[in-house]
């Protein structure tokens, strides 16, 4: 009886250790949030028009060519990208870079010029232009680029960005 109890206690201890180790592994590196990309019409006026494509760090050059070096030096892990359309008028692309940590996202963010930018409050830092929005949230750097400019584009970008930021915050 005493032997059986000891064995059970050992098994429980081992199971607990395994669970703790797994939890530590999960928290060791950031993951791309499961659903950071809003589905169609989850953000007013925005329709998701393409599948999500993902490029891991080793293949990042296939997506952004020479720019990949800057991201690699900052510890990028992957980029996921999807196409959107606003009110059937303005096409846009959303890129979400998952960096190794928040410092990496900040490093890339700060390495870019900030001319003619509209300062806004979004995530941990953001820049809004007439046709694009860049912001960082934790270990993620998000870039949304619209291919046409209109009177509504900037506000629409901000709304989409806010929708994505909300999803990133839910991790």
């Amino acid at each position: 009886m005493r032997t059986g109890t000891a064995a059970m206690r050992s098994a429980l201890t081992v199971a607990l250790c395994i669970a703790l180790l797994e939890n530590a592994a999960c928290n060791r590196e950031p993951r791309t949030p499961a659903r950071p990309f809003p589905a169609s019409n989850q953000v007013g006026g925005w329709e998701k028009t393409g599948d999500i494509r993902t490029f891991e760090a080793a293949d990042l050059w296939k997506y952004i060519d020479g720019e990949a070096e800057r991201y690699l030096q900052a510890g990028v892990q992957r980029v996921s990208t999807a196409d959107y359309k606003f009110q059937n008028k303005v096409d846009a692309v959303v890129d979400i870079y998952t960096m190794g940590n928040a410092e990496g996202a900040e490093k890339v963010f700060r390495s870019e010029s900030a001319v003619d930018v509209t300062p806004i409050q979004l995530g941990d830092g953001a820049r809004l232009y007439s046709q694009s929005l860049v912001f960082r949230k934790g270990a993620c750097l998000v870039r949304i680029v619209a291919f046409e400019e209109s009177t509504e584009t900037q506000q629409a970008l901000l709304q989409l960005g806010q929708g994505i930021e909300l999803r990133l915050a839910r991790r």
Binding site: W61, D65, G66, D91, E112
Partner: protein, 336 residues
């Protein structure tokens, strides 16, 4: 470096051939003024044609205006009064022509669709069969994302990426470069027309004609250190590229001066121009100056000041490569 717009095409040609051109330098571009040459001095011709109304009142390029703009550029470059004649000088019926576009920038910043259509139209009028024209880059998905319609087979212009046919097994080498070439280059075309986009580049400084050949090889990611130098020049020395390349038509309709090569609309501008030349080094040099001028206008440092001067251009022109000239005294630029 600019020639007065009132200069006739025939004068432009004469000056290119005799070297007696007196070119008015633009102070903002910081280029040398040409001196009177007593001796004959062959010059590389670069034509920049612009249409301020290329997009009409909207943002999309007008197809008809693009065709006219292409014609103007080609007629000036080849000194012909008839657009079709310029193309007949360039290609022969029975040849297969590959248009190496640049689809990396996606919808907003790839080789312009209307430009590519215009080139295809003129090639066919010059006697090239539709299915002997291949519009290509490295990846079919990338082409689709850029707005091209991937199409193979049938009696129509072909459009697909190297992913459909793969790279040659054999490694070809020159200098610092050892790569496998796209089978589209080696097996599907015997004439190459380069259709790059005018962009600045994070590493190389600029990416225009010569660097567009990175899309021809299986391992371009290996050739980005040191500002892509001497890799760009060495790559363009490969015989399969050198012997087939006939012309560069640079899409300068939308160009970038910062943040490239990806599309950053905040750092791009609607230039509404084409730059054509048979000297890719001279074209890249000219494009570089255009980008520097825009950077100065926006209050940005020069590319050199930003730590990314395009040294590869000088390498491409040096004695070991001689891919063209980067000497402004030997480049005749006509702005139409």
């Amino acid at each position: 470096m600019s020639i007065k717009s009132s200069t006739s095409r025939r004068d432009f040609l004469k000056k290119c051939l005799t070297g007696a051109a007196v070119l008015r330098a633009s102070g903002r571009m910081g280029l040398l003024a040409a001196t009177e040459q007593g001796t004959a001095l062959a010059k590389s011709r670069v034509v920049m044609a612009r249409d301020a109304m290329l997009r009409g009142a909207g943002t999309t390029v007008d197809s008809r205006r693009m065709l006219i703009l292409l014609d103007r550029a080609m007629q000036a470059l080849f000194d012909r009064d008839n657009a079709i004649e310029t193309w007949k000088n360039l290609v022969r019926p029975g040849e297969t022509v590959g248009l190496k576009v640049n689809a990396l920038g996606g919808r907003g910043f790839s080789s312009n669709l209307q430009l590519v259509e215009a080139i295809c139209e003129r090639l066919q009028e010059a006697g090239i069969k539709a299915n002997d024209i291949v519009v290509w880059d490295r990846d079919s998905d990338e082409l689709e994302h850029a707005g091209f319609h991937v199409s193979t087979g049938g009696n129509r212009v072909q459009c697909f990426g190297t992913d459909r046919v793969d790279y040659e097994q054999k490694l070809v080498t020159h200098g610092s470069v050892g790569s496998r070439l796209s089978k589209i280059l080696t097996q599907s075309c015997n004439v190459l027309i380069n259709v790059p986009v005018l962009k600045d580049h994070d590493g190389a400084g600029v990416t225009i004609s010569l660097k567009n050949m990175y899309g021809v090889i299986h391992n371009p990611n290996k050739y980005h250190p040191n500002g892509c130098d001497p890799y760009i020049a060495d790559l363009n020395m490969l015989p399969e590229i050198r012997t087939k390349m006939r012309l560069t038509i640079c899409d300068a309709t939308t160009a970038s001066y910062e943040g490239g090569p990806g599309y950053k609309p905040e750092y791009s501008w609607k230039n509404n121009a084409l730059i054509v030349s048979q000297d890719p080094v001279a074209l890249d040099y000219t494009g570089w100056q255009i980008i520097e001028r825009k950077r100065a206008e926006k209050g940005l440092k020069t590319l050199e000041g930003d730590g990314r001067a395009p040294h590869y251009i000088a390498t491409a022109a040096d004695a070991q490569h001689r891919l063209g000239t980067n000497d402004p005294r030997k480049i005749a630029v006509a702005e139409l």
